[in-house]
């Protein structure tokens, strides 16, 4: 299990180092994720142990957002004087965008079982 954790942290480190040395505006961990994805394709997929370690971490994703998320409370005062405009903008744009993005993705993603089956036969 330790080797698997070491592997993940190594990709995190490579991602961090890569974006820093390239000077691009991109989070190191996201870069590390893409590199790990490439590594998985190159090596024929993850071991069961790596999957287990990964899903343990991902199961606690919500917890890991608490330190950064609590910044809302600390810095919320920064826009307190125009809170209504900003909150309206955030709520409306986020819900409308989820609706639009979801409806488009759904239209094409959802298979049409009858047709697909017919095409196969």
């Amino acid at each position: 299990m330790l080797m698997q954790v070491a592997l993940l942290i190594t990709f995190q480190w490579i991602g961090d180092t890569l974006v820093k040395s390239l000077g691009v505006t991109f989070p190191g961990p996201l870069c590390g994720m893409l590199l790990l994805l490439g590594f998985l394709f190159a090596t024929g997929g993850p071991s069961q142990e790596l999957r287990t370690v990964g899903s343990t971490l991902i199961d606690h994703l919500g917890l890991l957002f608490v330190p950064a998320g609590t910044a809302v409370v600390a810095y919320g005062v920064l826009f307190a004087h125009e809170g209504v405009a900003v909150l309206a903008a955030l709520f409306i744009s986020t819900t409308v965008a989820v609706h639009v993005g979801g409806a488009i993705a759904e239209r094409f993603v959802r298979p049409r079982p009858a047709k697909d089956e017919a095409a196969k036969m």
Partner: protein, 231 residues
Amino acid sequence: MLQGPAFWLAITLAIYAVSAAINRRCNKTPLLNPTLLSIAGVAVVLTLSGTSYQKYFEAVAILHFLLGTAVVALALPLYNNLTRLKGRWLTMAVALAAGSVTSMLVGMAVAILAGGSTLAIISLAPKSATAAVSMEISRLIGGTPAVTGVFTILTGITGAVLGPYVLDLAEVRSHEARGFAMGVVSHGIATARAFSESEIAGSFAGLGMVLNAILTSLLVPLVLKALPIAV
């Protein structure tokens, strides 16, 4: 006395465990999002103990570090589910562009109509990209990174809490589409929510998050150049 990593790590883990238990007890209702409940709980303890956010963040820095590790690990479920994209790349690209642009333009438009300041409008533009990206874009376009950081977190929480209901209303049922939309618009916090719906939804949320981080960093500077907003 109320300081140091051990105290704040214990508090944070305990509050999250209780929040997650409440969420499970209520059939994982999106309204009682465990991250949101925990932020509220931690905020109460910080206020009662007179602790600054900075002190708190330093104490629990290890959790924030592991967030990076967990994001790297998102490649694993994505690897499992990437074949579901076969033949649908173009569709997902359209959904990505539509979700990204809608979030940006509707957000700015509402803020303009509601009389928001120019600084707030600019700081809103990159809010659908994950925090590290949105804050850096904000700096580049003359916004306030800390304000954008707050907008970004609120966008994540809004998507995680309201997103599932919006998708139900829109009759979006496939796990791929639900996850992808939440990840594109509301990045990591909604990705965590998507994983509690299913591994497929979570994987596609992770994919949406990484793609929109790239797209937003390309689009926001262009859009702001095209719009007649004085910086």
